[in-house]
Structures are given as C-alpha cells and as structure tokens.
C-alpha cells in the first residue's frame, strides 16, 4: 500500500496545521512553480561535418498551452552534397534546458524523423515516423543501446529539391523498446519545417 505509516502521520499533521492556519487570512498566494512540463522552444542546429558555420532553425510558442500559434523560423536551407550533424535542443517556459533532461532520461525518449523522399542521400527513404524500421542515422544511444536522436547525421542529395522535415519526440516511459514506434507513448514535440536543398 502506498499510503504508509509516514503518510498517515503527515495527514494528521496536515490536519492540525489546517485547523490552526486556515482562518489566517487571504494572502496565501500560490508559490511560483517552475513549469518543467511545457516545451516552448525547439532549436535545430545543423553543423556541416566538413567545416563551416552552424545553421540554426527554431520553433517557439511563448504562450505554451495558450491559444497563440507557434512561430517557426525557416525554411531550413541546406547545401547540396553536404553531410551535417543535427543536434536538437529544447527549452521550457523559464528558459530551462529540457534537452538536457531528455538526455538524462534517454531510456524513455526517442526522436523520430520524416522528410520528403529524395532530399537526403543518407539516410535514404522518407524517415521512421511511418515505419520505425526505416533508416535514420542516429549518433547517440541510451543505456539499453537504443537510439535517442538528439544527435543525428544527414547527407543531402546531389540534386536540388524542396519538401518538409518533421521531428517528433516521444516520451515512452516503460514503453521504449527495440520495437516501439512513433505512435507509442506521449508526444513531447511534433514540428514540421519546410526544407530546401539547394546550391
């Protein structure tokens, strides 16, 4: 049973406390909470492995669960025939680093990707959102040897093209396995950018 002896005493204390303090006045405002749940910004950083400056794209939703739509910077513009390392960062309402938290809890998180077929030479195909077995070049693994996706590698195709690039972060506590897919667990991030591969 979860309500153990300690808790019973807690309840008694709470009871005594409540009886003593309830009529003390109206100035008991709730403490400011640090809302770690809500992700308000996602940053994609494409670093060319052969050298060159980072390309940074973001999606932000400052009102979190408010009705305002999110703002996406973009489109993502990548060069032909280039290999990039993509690192993904996330931050919360008060600017805390949720990406670090995800890295810490990597055994229950996985990022899934999909894109318009033909934009990348490696990985081939259209990504692993529709089919978890499809290729994505994960550069990171969790404690169980399963991919995470905060760091991935992408080689653009030799021909110009345009399409979309979608990133999904799944929270899969007790669910993540070698066979889990993008439809298991809860979605922490689901964003789609316009992607252009050009000269």
């Amino acid at each position: 049973m979860n309500i153990n002896v300690m808790k019973k005493y807690q309840l008694v204390w709470a009871l005594i406390g409540a009886m003593a303090f309830t009529s003390c006045g109206d100035d008991d405002a709730p403490d400011a909470e640090n809302p770690e749940e809500i992700i308000t910004g996602v940053t994609l950083t494409f670093t060319p492995t052969g050298g060159g400056s980072d390309l940074v794209f973001t999606a932000t939703d400052p009102d979190g669960e408010g009705p305002e739509d999110l703002a996406v910077s973009g489109p993502i513009q990548l060069s032909l025939n280039t290999t990039y390392e993509l690192s993904i960062g996330m931050e919360g309402l008060d600017g805390e680093d949720i990406g670090a938290e995800v890295a810490e809890e990597d055994e229950e998180h996985q990022l899934f990707f999909s894109w318009t077929d033909g934009l990348f030479s490696s990985p081939a195909g259209n990504g692993n959102i529709d089919n978890a077995d499809d290729d994505v070049d994960y550069l990171d693994v969790d404690g169980n040897g399963l991919p995470v996706g905060l760091l991935t590698e992408w080689s653009t195709s030799a021909t110009q093209g345009a399409g979309t690039f979608r990133v999904i972060l799944k929270h899969q506590p007790d669910i993540k396995s070698a066979t889990s897919t993008s439809s298991d667990g809860e979605t922490d991030v689901d964003l789609t950018w316009v992607l252009q591969v050009q000269e």
């Binding site: 008991d28 749940e37 939703d61 669960e65 009705p67």
Partner: protein, 805 residues
C-alpha cells in the same frame, strides 16, 4: 430505534397530544329477541373518569368473542350478537381494565375508565422522519441491505440503483453520481449531515465517500431544497452513516467480500454499544484491488485502495442531545494507462488501439496516472428542546486532500501535477418553531468558510488558483396543512465572497475578490389522492455561482486544453474580472411531479421533471491550437440556456405469498442546449432495469434464502452531438475552428447487462454470492470518459460473508 430520540420530529410527536372535542348527545340502543337470528346490537361510550374526555380506540369485547373499538368521540357499536346478556370487557392502554355485565334491554352504557397507576415502563414510538422543507420533494432511499449493493465499491455505483440517478465515470474507480443529467457542483452531497467539501469541479473528481460506511442513500430530486443551500440545481444526495443506539448491548457486524475481476478484497466492520444516556460506534472498511479486465484484455492500471475509519458518539439528556463524529476516507485510484494521450495525433492512435497502449499482465501495482485523496470529517452537533421549538446547532470541519499524478518526465513522475488541500469549516443553526397559526417549519442560518490551496512542488503552473470562499445563507421553510393537502414554501438568501490568488501562464501573480448574492426559493405541495395514492409537486428555483475552474482554469487537462471564462475570450488570453467580463450565476428552475401508489404488494412511483437552466456553464471546443507538442483541440467555457427534462419510473411487486419479488426501474432523460440548438456531450442514456427475486423463508438450516436476477438495458444515446473524427483536424484541409459541441467518436451501442445472485443466512452468518455481467458482454458506456479507449470490465464473481452479533 433509539436514534429516533435524536430526530426532532419524534420529540414533537411525543409532545403533541391529540385534542378532541367534547360532544354530548343522545345515546341509544336497540333491543330485540336475538337468540335465534343473532340480531342483537347495542352501542355505548367510553370516557376518561377523571377528565371526562372520550377515549378513542378503546377496546370493547363481548365474552371474549366479538369486539369493537371506540370512534373519535368515544362511541362504539356492537352488532350481530346472539345473546341478550353478556360480560362486556373494556380496556384501554394506560387505564384499568373494566368488566361490566350488560343486558341489551338496558340503556346504552357510558363506561368510565380510570387511569392505571402502573403506567407502562417505556414507550417506543417509531416514525419516519419528515424533514421540514422536504415533505413535498420527490425522494428515494436505498438501504444497505439492498442485494444490488453487494460488492459496490464507489458511492456513484451505489446510487445508480436509485431511479433517476446515473453515473459519470473516468475509468472504473472514479465514479460520480448524475441526477437528472446534472452532476459535479450542480448536486449537493450531504455526507453525515455536512455538505461534502471536496474538489467537485472536475468530472474526474469523484466524491471521497466510502459507501461501506453508509447506512442509507437518499436522492432528493427537486432543486432548491432551501435547507441545503445553493448549487442543488439537480438535486441533493444524502448519505447517512448508521447511528449508535442508546441502551444497546455491545453488538457489531462485519463483512468480507472477495471478487474475481480485479482480484479484489473488501472488508468492513462496525461495533456499537449504548448506555442510558451515551452510545458509541466505531467503523472501519477497506478495499484492495488490482487491475480489472474486459472480456478480452486487461485494463492496466485500474487498481484501487481505500481505507476508511469512523467513530461516532452520542449523548442524550432530557431536552438535550449531542453527538460527535469523525471519519476519514483515503483512496488511491489508478486510471487506465492507455487513456493518457498527448496531442491530437496521439489521441487518434489511442482511439484506434485495441487493446489500449500499455496493456500488460495483471498487477496490483498502481502507477501513474493515478489519484490519491484523503478526506477528514469532524462533526459536532447539539440540539436543544426549547420550551418554544427545537434548536439544532452543527459545526463541521472537513479537510480534503487531492493529488493527481500524470505520466511525466523523469523526477516529475513522482510529483503530483495537481496537489490541492481544501479546508472547510461550516456552522449550521436551525430553529424549528412550534406550530403557529397552522404553520410548522424552520428558520436557519448557515455559514461556511473554505480555504483551498495549491501545495507547492508540482513543477507545473496550478490549473486552478488558490481561493478562500466565505458563504452565508438564511432560510425560512414553512408548511401548512389544508383540507387534504400540505403546502410547503421556502425562501433562502445566500451570499458568497471569493478571494482568489493565482499564477498566470507567465507565472505572474493575479488576485481578485468578487461576490455573488442571490435568492432561491421553493414551493411544493403534497396531496393524498387516496389512502394509496400520493401526489407531489415541487417547483424549485436554485442558483449556482461559477466554480473556480469554470472561471480560472488554464492549460492542459486530460487530452484537451481548457480555458476558463476569466482567462480567455475571443482569442484574448488575460485575466478578466467581473468588470471586464460579466459572468452571471446559473439559475435553475426545476419542476418535479411525482405520483406514488402503494397497495397490496404493489409499490409504483413515477417522477416527471423539467429543468430549465439559464446561463448554464459548460465547456465547448473553440478550435485547434498548434504547440511545440503538436495540435490540440482547445475548449472554452461558455454560457447558454439548457433544458433537461425526463421521467423516472419504478415499480415493485411482491407476490401474494411474498415469494416472488419484482422490480422495474426506468429512467428517461432529454437534454438540450436551447440557445444554440445543440446537444451536450455525456448525457446519461435512457435506461431500463428489471430484477426478479425468489425468497424462501427457510431450507434446512438455512434461513431467508434469496435468489435473483438483474437485467439492465442501456440504450444508445441518440441525443449525441455531431461527430468530427480526429483526422479532420489534421492535414491540409483541417478544420481550424469548431465553435460548436462535437464528439470524437460515435455514442456506443446499447447493451444489456445481467447479474445473478443468491444469498442465505446460517445462524448469525449470511452468505452472498453474486455474478456481475454473467454473459461477459463486451460493451462501452457513453458516460464513461474512457469509452474512447477501452471496453468496460467483463464478468465478475463476488462472494461475501456477513456476520452479525
């Protein structure tokens, strides 16, 4: 029994002595030679020797053979006598018996009885309590002994056995009652004499009341029962624990129930003893249950734990009664793992997954999502039998703790996402005045102070702010008897002062102080059309100020995002107040008619009602918002005008030999948003139930054998709003704004459930065996929020042993 000493009506009943008019008149007799044709007759009169008053219902017997009783003026009439001379024996409770030799040719006798010095040692008067202000209300009561209650673990489930009461569920453990289509803070629940002070703003917040601690469950179907205060737009539910008896020997009962679905064990016990002027009682109960299962798969994470304890003492002196009681109910309830969804795409997947995602093997473990609640109740009451009327004073203290845990990231998983502590102090004062100008009734005052606080450490911005409520109310309720019927009228004035302090989505503090004041009233009549038929009509006007959640909620709650009336309007999110956005209180007008018939084994009850609610507050989808987590539908609170109407029908028939027993229950409900011409989501569908029971007084050593079958058919809800599947909100041709009520799935099909049971007593033991959902029917319930994700539980075997000493 002795608990009746505490009921004011009994005291009044004892105090009232019937007054009779003194009549004098000619007394006459006939005399015949009647030894052949037994045609002799004569009359007479019986009178109190001391006062000269006629004695009513005195017994007159002739030769221990023929008998008669006196009428209201003391006259009796004996006929069909075959002798002219006999011994007449006259007796009356509290008077000396008298034997008089009489001849029919003599004058009619006037018999004077003198009071007996040896009075009865004690008199026990049993009378059903007629609560003032409620005589004209339609109400139904269910007692613990009802066979349908075997194995019932939630209050909502228990109340479902009453006609007109449905349930609203979030899974199998979170069950709350719905009366005539209304629930949550539109019903007032009176638990152990106190308004249950809990977080009743969310559909997934079930009342923290253990049905195992209760003795009777009553539903009052009228609105605006002035005695219970505002918010009773749908009605009042009264849950009464047993009361210890004075002069009772040490006695108790205990019951242990095991059930297969959920592999649960449930126990309860009661111990009580009474002395001359003091009595006590202690109670305890507990439930330990694991995952439930449908006919096809496990319902992972649907376990529950519940512990309750209670103690009551009563003290009785002449003209004074007092009682003190304490109870605690602690619950831990698991919520189906597969019902947790993220954005719309996740919801779409969850709607289609069968079995639901995360389904695992049976376990007793309760993981997230889950709820932990604790409710403490202290009640101190006293009543004084004043020379003029009766005075009742009750102080109540309730402390309610609610923690709700979601599936969260990392260490947040151990933190509740909702953590609230609600303290309620209440003071009720009632004066039942003596009869005056033919009026009987009461005047009362009620005060309540509530303090609700978010316990820090949830790592999420509180869904509802902190608040303090101060409520006060005055009421007058009067009844007057006219020739053949009783009229009852009540009026009540209430005020509520709220002081609110919360955090907006940027963690900035907001505060607001506001108040609502209103009048509610009720008018009713009851008429006995004949000795078998009673007609009641009750018109109630009730009101309800908006709840904190309706005003201030902001954020994700279950799989939708919700914005309160004072947090969002027309695309603007800020914190409004009564000046920037007026939110009138809900006003309900409910008219209930009921007709009850009782005769020779038949008991029929019909209730017809119409409820019009002005400024009805509800939440409806407004549109889709895109967040980093994907697309979410967002709901806003709005006000409209609603109509709920319907009928409840109940019939009981006990066969001539009382062997066969039948019960039929029928509940019909029609509900509509009349301003927008739309249906609401989640109205209980039409329901019909039939129970047949066979009783055998004894079989060998077994006593009181009962075997029965219950069938209940729930119809498909035809009054469901339009269906917009999840896919319509996603993709290129997505619907951007909705603006009207819709549902993600069709209402489920109708279904028939069959239960069978058998019970028998052996000395002090009673054994009960029950099978629920005998046919292992696969079904979904329209008023269960989890109908989107999973089926309802399948077959369940229950066995219970009850011991009484």
């Amino acid at each position: 029994m002795a608990s009746d000493f505490f009921k004011p009506a009994t005291l009044c009943f004892l105090a009232l002595q019937p007054l009779f008019l003194l009549l004098s008149g000619e007394v006459w007799a006939q005399s015949n030679d009647c030894q052949k044709d037994c045609s002799c007759s004569f009359t007479g009169r019986v009178i109190d020797k001391q006062t000269g008053d006629p004695l009513v219902l005195a017994t007159v017997r002739v030769n221990n053979d023929k008998g008669a009783t006196t009428d209201e003026n003391g006259y009796f009439d004996l006929s069909g006598l075959c002798q002219e001379e006999f011994d007449l024996e006259v007796s009356y409770l509290g008077y000396k018996k008298l034997v008089h030799h009489h001849h029919v040719h003599h004058d009619p006798p006037t018999i004077f009885l003198s009071p007996d010095d040896q009075m009865l040692e004690s008199v026990l008067v049993e009378e059903k309590l007629a609560i003032s202000g409620e005589m004209t209300q339609s109400e139904t009561t269910l007692e613990r002994a009802d066979p349908s209650l075997v194995g019932t673990v939630s209050l909502g489930q228990a109340l479902k056995e009453l006609p007109g009461v449905g349930t609203l569920k979030t899974g199998q453990n979170v069950v709350k009652p719905v009366v005539h289509g209304l629930h949550s803070n539109r019903l007032v629940i009176i638990n152990n004499g106190l308004r249950h002070g809990n977080q009743n703003w969310g559909t997934e917040h079930a009342p923290e009341i253990d049905p195992d601690m209760a003795e009777t469950f009553t539903v009052v179907k009228g609105a605006g029962a002035v005695k219970y205060g505002p918010e009773a737009l749908g009605g009042v539910i009264i849950v009464e624990p047993p009361s210890p008896d004075l002069l009772g020997h040490l006695h108790g009962e205990t019951e242990l129930t095991g059930y297969s679905n959920g592999r649960g064990l449930k126990g309860r016990m009661l111990l009580s003893k009474g002395y001359t002027d003091f009595a006590w009682q202690v109670q305890a109960s507990g439930v330990y249950q694991g995952d439930l299962e449908t006919p096809d798969y496990m319902l992972t994470n649907t376990g529950m734990r519940e512990q309750s304890v209670g103690a009551t003492t009563v003290y009785h002196k002449r003209h004074f009664d007092a009682s003190l009681s304490y109870s605690y109910t602690g619950q831990e309830l698991g919520i189906l793992r597969g019902s947790v969804t993220g954005n719309l795409a996740d919801l779409g997947v969850a709607l289609e997954s069968e079995p639901p995602e995360g389904t695992r093997d049976f376990s007793y473990e309760i993981r997230n999502p889950r709820q932990e609640t604790a409710h403490h109740l202290v009640r101190l009451s006293a009543s004084y039998d004043l020379p003029k009327g009766l005075l009742d004073l009750t102080y109540g203290f309730q402390y309610n703790e609610r923690r709700e845990f979601d599936v969260r990231r990392g260490t947040n998983n151990e933190r509740p996402s909702i953590d609230l502590a609600l303290t309620t102090h209440s003071l009720d004062l009632e004066w039942q005045h003596p009869a005056w100008q033919g009026l009987s009734g009461s005047v009362g005052f009620q005060g309540e102070y509530q303090d609700n606080n978010n316990i820090p450490g949830t790592n999420t911005i509180p869904f509802v702010p902190n608040y303090n409520h101060t409520r006060w109310g005055f009421y007058v309720s009067e009844a007057k008897d006219f020739a053949g019927f009783t009229v009852e009228a009540g009026v009540r004035l209430d005020g509520i002062l709220s002081s609110v302090r919360g955090r907006d989505n940027r963690n900035d503090l907001y505060t607001n102080d506001y108040q609502y004041t209103n009048i509610s009233a009720s008018l009713g009549m009851v008429k006995e059309l004949s000795s078998r038929i009673t007609y009641r009509s009750h018109l109630g006007l009730a009101w309800r100020p908006p709840s904190i959640a309706e005003l201030y909620s902001f954020g994700k709650h279950q799989f939708v995002i919700e914005y309160g009336l004072w947090r969002y309007r027309d695309g603007i999110t800020t914190v409004f107040d009564e000046d920037t956005r007026e939110v009138p209180a809900e006003k309900g007008y409910k008219w209930v008619h009921s007709l009850d018939y009782e005769n020779q084994g038949w008991r029929l009850g019909t209730t017809v009602f119409a409820n019009y609610i002005q400024d009805f507050i509800y939440s409806r989808p407004e549109g889709i918002t895109n967040t980093v987590r994907g697309a979410f539908p967002y709901f806003v609170y709005e006000q409209t005008n609603a109509v709920m109407a319907g009928a409840d029908f109940s019939a009981f028939y006990t066969g001539v030999k009382k062997r066969w027993n039948h019960r039929v229950l029928l509940s019909l409900l029609y509900g509509r948003d009349v301003a927008d011409d739309a249906y609401f989501v989640g109205l209980p569908p039409q329901r019909i139930g039939y129970r047949i029971q066979y009783t055998l007084p004894s079989l060998g050593p077994l006593q009181d054998l009962k075997a029965g079958m219950e069938n209940e058919y729930s119809f498909r809800q035809f009054m469901a709003p339009e269906v917009i599947p999840v896919e319509r909100f996603m993709g290129d041709d997505a619907i951007g704004t909705v603006g009207s009520v819709f549902d993600f799935l069709e209402a489920p099909d109708g279904y028939l459930l069959t239960d069978i049971y058998i019970s028998a007593a052996l000395r002090s033991f009673e054994f009960r065996f029950r099978v629920e959902n005998v046919l292992n029917t696969e079904y979904r319930d329209y008023t269960n929020r989890l109908r989107y994700f999973a089926d309802e539980p399948g077959r369940n075997f229950l066995i219970s042993v009850f011991y009484q000493f």
